[in-house]
Amino acid sequence: MLNLFAAVAAPKMAGFAITGELLFFAALAGLAMLSAVGVVAFNNAVRSALCLVLNFFVLAGIYFTLNAEMMGITQVVVYTGAIMVLFLFVIMLLNLSAPALLQDKNDPKTAVGMTLGMVMFTLVALQVLPGLMSKTEPGAVDGYGSPVNVGRALFTGFVIPFEAVSILLLIGIVGSILLAKRRF
């Protein structure tokens, strides 16, 4: 089956053959693109958020295909596990008090915006991407994304931003409490 595909498509796409990995990537990428469009296209905020969750989850899968396993799992922990839950939490809180607020009305500018976005995408892609089509073999060593390597890099070369991020998170904590607490 795969060979058949390759035989049909090979003459059209010079330079690389269609492999199982490519098809797997195409499936993940298609899912990611669909869910990305869903975030923008759904009028209901909860649907948008769920699409975004799906997108982040699929992205974690794509990170695994890039051998960046630590990043993939961190993606799930941070984005789907924490950030999107917080989003849903706030959406639900707003939903509890004013459900109508989260329902966008249909708007003609949606279609216009989508089209313009696609045009821009095509323009930029045509400028930047064609030269990179030939690059199909990864250059980084396997295991570059293991927790050990990531940790070592984090605590040697990037120790200053790592420490600085603690200040950033402190700002996040203090700021969110300051902004959202009920009483002064």
Binding site: T80, G81, V85, L86, L88, M92, N95, P147
Partner: protein, 446 residues
Amino acid sequence: MAEWYDNLHPVWQALIRVLLFVGPLLTMVPALIWFERRVLGWFQDRIGPNRVGNITFQKKDKWVPEFLRGKKIRLFGLIQPIADGIKLFLKEDITPSSVDKVIYFLAPALALFPAFALGATLPWGPFKGLTPVADVNIGVLWIMAISSLGVYGVVLSGYASNNKYSLLGGLRSSAQLISYELGMGVSLACIALSTGSLKLTDMVTAQEGPLWGVVPAVSNWNILTPHGAIAAVVFAICMVAETNRAPFDLPEAENELVAGYHTEYSSMKFAVFFMGEYAAMAVYGGIFATVFLGGWHMPIPVRWDYIAESQPMLSGVVSYFQWADFWMAPAWFLLKVWIIIFGFVWLRATMPRLRYDQLMSLGWKTLLPIATVNLIVVATWLLLQEVAGPGPALALSVCTFAALWIIFRAVTRLEPAKENFLPNREISMVEVKPAEKPEAPEAAVA
């Protein structure tokens, strides 16, 4: 492992591993339900389900062996969960009219998924390549990642039900899960730090060493080390909260939220939530056993290898234990899981439910600081071990913990503590009426 297994195609190997994990888990769930009901009955001095599943053989039955004819075999209600399942399956499946349909159907599936995916990195025995579905070097992170997905099922079912009580239940649950996720993560990080690996099989192997690096005959179960014991307590509490079990079952508090997020769910959809909860219980028990209780080893922390070496005269007996330790690994593992599940039930039977603010302050003001201080102590301990050897390091790390904890309490005590409890009241079962007054004359006139 066996040769035939190694010769299989990797896909089949993977399938076998998945079956080895999912099969026991699925069979455990009904048994667990029965176990909980029986144990609860025992705690509450009643009998519990004991009728369903009695098999009575007629005298005239020809197909049973002679000695069974006319006998009644008691199964102590073991079949009860299956009967429950049949009941739930045959019940009318009600879908309220104004629910958000897609999300309404998605939510139970999302609630069940993490419970099963969570245990994928759990090793059931020393048979490398056979037991964990995926022995990846991000095992602990996997647990963190998947357990944080558990909140979606609850929140979305609450939202989709289009019911204020359900939504409130979902919101409470999401706040609860996020809060306790932190304490759990940090306490797991303590163990990961002291082990030096995020792999669960490495964690089990690390627990085979001598206790504290000093006592050679006892194996180094994490629950026996000072920092590990603290982490275990924090983890255990967070684990109960993460599975939404009593005393942390606020999302479904009957008296406040009419059963919370699954009020609007009936029939099989409810059964799926139910299954998710019990499967999560079993899997968290497995995680606890793996990380803190020596994993697949015998439930006594003895290093048989060392004993065999140092006491050659005992080697005959010890070799028997070694054999049992290796070949009965899944059984030991399951035994530990059941002990933990008994703990779950015990908690449910004895603890009153927490109030919401108590729940939050326990999570944020007690468990998280303890776990964080513990993490600092583990780091200090590892550093000191390099410098001063295991013994002094241990003593110093204990002192560090005490000092940090005292400082923390001293700092937080400065704030005047609010009275968190209701004033004492007399509660009596029988309503005591005040002494009857003669009716007011005005009322009589009116």
